[in-house]
């Protein structure tokens, strides 16, 4: 496939009947599929074949979906461009020569190219919404706890959710209904009906925003490129012409959201990725290092040097640093304070509005290779998406139009916890 959307193309047939019986679904390669290799975009797991299905994969199969394969991604979900994959970058079918976004870039690309009807991604700090925005498709990051993470190879457990990617809001909502709901194998899942919601999300895709109050966080709008703001402004006018009311809201805490997100995500990653030592799975210590002159730690270190790419090493090292003696209070504790502050800010803003709207990404898709050498520039591109993960809230990215250069721009709606219906309704007014 010329745009490199899949790491592994292999069909997995689902049940004969079900709501997805005539649908093909691509699955991000960090979601476990029994007997089909699951690489996480890493050389470390090049040959890893899970012995079990993730809960979401069980639910896809039970719903009748045909899985088309495992999609390319930034290594272990760590990236905003799908360029950190050990299996090469993915091109953007909606803007060739540009990145598809990340980390679920392969999932958004195969949907944009029409090679799968739907796809699953995972979103730790924007990894579903960013590629949806860059590829001109729809992506939903569910409320934390709505979708089971059992079988999702962990990057940062307290932040991530599996979410749907689709050509339309209605189709994304239908896929969300299939994967949502409590799972006894993931104790962080919650039953949405106990939060006053229900699982028929597609029913909310009626495009009726008349009387809806849409809050616009000035901090998330004003940080965006002019080309992006222009498309965003036109989309907001469109919503107003359909009867929505817009109000400006303030989220002063988001100034620190990117830093807080990276401290928390890297810290969790440093712990989660400790399991890759070449003993239970992963590259073989003996093959990588031969007989090591030293102790087991040195053998593990040699496997991890060979198996991890640069971005993964950077995040594991920074996470280890942030949790190490003398720095824990300075970085990790402060990041938790910032996270609580972001949560309060969103709660307050959502008192004034039904949903919040912002550009999904502050920039249009990067050109291939543009940002790899400067990690901090890449991290700052996540400014509008990471606050939502810190706040555990649901968000949707819908296509809002294109820049004058023909590059896709996404608009993000954020809703209250378990308020998926509200963001689906708002999104369906645009796509």
């Amino acid at each position: 496939m010329e745009y490199n959307g899949y790491v592994t193309e292999e069909r997995i047939e689902g049940a004969a009947d079900g709501p997805l019986a005539d649908k093909t679904v691509a699955v991000k390669d960090n979601i476990s599929t029994a007997d089909v290799r699951t690489t996480c975009g890493s050389a470390m797991l090049e040959d890893y074949v899970p012995p079990y299905d993730a809960t979401v994969v069980e639910r896809l199969k039970a719903a009748g979906a045909t899985i088309t394969g495992k999609t390319n991604m930034d290594e272990f979900g760590m990236g905003t461009t799908t360029e950190t994959s050990a299996f090469g970058p993915t091109d953007n079918p909606a803007a060739p020569g540009h990145v598809p976004g990340g980390s679920s870039g392969g999932s958004a690309a195969v949907v944009a190219a029409g090679d799968a009807d739907l796809a699953l991604g995972s979103d730790t700090g924007g990894s579903v919404r960013c590629p949806a925005a860059f590829c001109g498709v729809v992506g939903i990051k569910p409320t934390y706890g709505l979708v089971s993470r059992y079988g999702l190879v962990a990057y940062a457990n307290s932040l991530e959710q599996i979410g749907p990617i689709a050509p339309s809001v209605e189709a994304a909502a239908e896929l969300l209904s299939v994967i949502a709901g409590p799972d006894e194998r993931d104790a962080t899942t919650r039953d949405a009906t106990r939060a006053g919601s229900d699982y028929d999300y597609a029913a909310a895709a009626d495009g009726d925003v008349s009387g809806m109050t849409i809050g616009i966080p000035t901090e998330l709008r004003d940080g965006a490129d002019e080309a992006v703001r222009e498309v965003f402004r036109a989309a907001v006018e469109d919503l107003e012409s359909q009867g929505a009311e817009t109000v400006a809201v303030d989220l002063p805490s988001v100034e620190h959201a990117v830093e807080a997100y990276y401290v928390i995500a890297m810290s969790e990653a440093s712990s989660n990725l400790a399991r890759f030592d070449g003993v239970r799975y992963g590259a073989s210590a003996s093959e990588t290092a031969g007989e090591v002159d030293g102790d087991w730690n040195e053998a593990f270190a040699a496997v991890r040097e060979a198996g991890f790419g640069d971005e993964v090493k950077r995040r594991v090292l920074l996470g280890t640093y942030a949790l190490s003696a003398g720095y824990h209070d300075k970085y990790y504790e402060k990041a938790q304070d910032a996270r609580a502050w972001v949560q309060q800010d969103f709660d307050d803003a959502l008192e004034e509005a039904d949903v919040l709207a912002s550009p999904t990404m502050p920039v249009p898709p990067f050109e291939q290779g543009e940002s790899l050498e400067d990690p901090m520039t890449m991290y700052l591109a996540d400014a509008n998406t990471v606050p939502v993960n810190l706040a555990n809230l649901p968000a949707i990215s819908v296509p809002a139009g294109e820049t004058d250069d023909g590059l896709p721009v996404g608009l993000q709606f954020v809703g209250p916890a378990f308020g998926e219906h509200a963001i689906v309704r708002a999104g369906s007014a645009l796509a």
Binding site: H256, V292, R304
Partner: protein, 92 residues
């Protein structure tokens, strides 16, 4: 930001804690990249103390025996195993 500056030696120390071998070029490069990133992390100092009242509840289940992964499946991805056990790397 002298406070947050890391030198290649410190990168080597952290890499040791993280069990990742690095050559000197990598340590040099990471030390340079970490300047900007740690300088950004420093700004978290401006964050006020915030009361964290997470709405959490323990999720319990009876401690009952249930089926789990069988040994053969659990060993399937191990680069080396012997007599039903994982094999650690050979070291001198």
């Amino acid at each position: 930001m002298s406070d947050s500056a890391v030198d290649p030696e410190e990168v080597h120390h952290v890499a040791g804690l993280a069990r990742i071998a690095l050559d000197d070029d990598d340590a040099e490069r990471f030390a340079h990249q970490f300047q900007d990133i740690l300088a950004a992390f420093e700004t978290l100092d401006e964050v006020p103390e915030v009361e964290q009242d997470a709405d959490l509840a323990n999720v319990m289940r009876p401690d009952e025996e249930r089926p789990c992964l069988d040994r053969e499946d659990a060993l399937r991805n191990a680069p080396e195993h012997e007599d039903g056990y994982f094999t650690g790397p050979r070291v001198s």
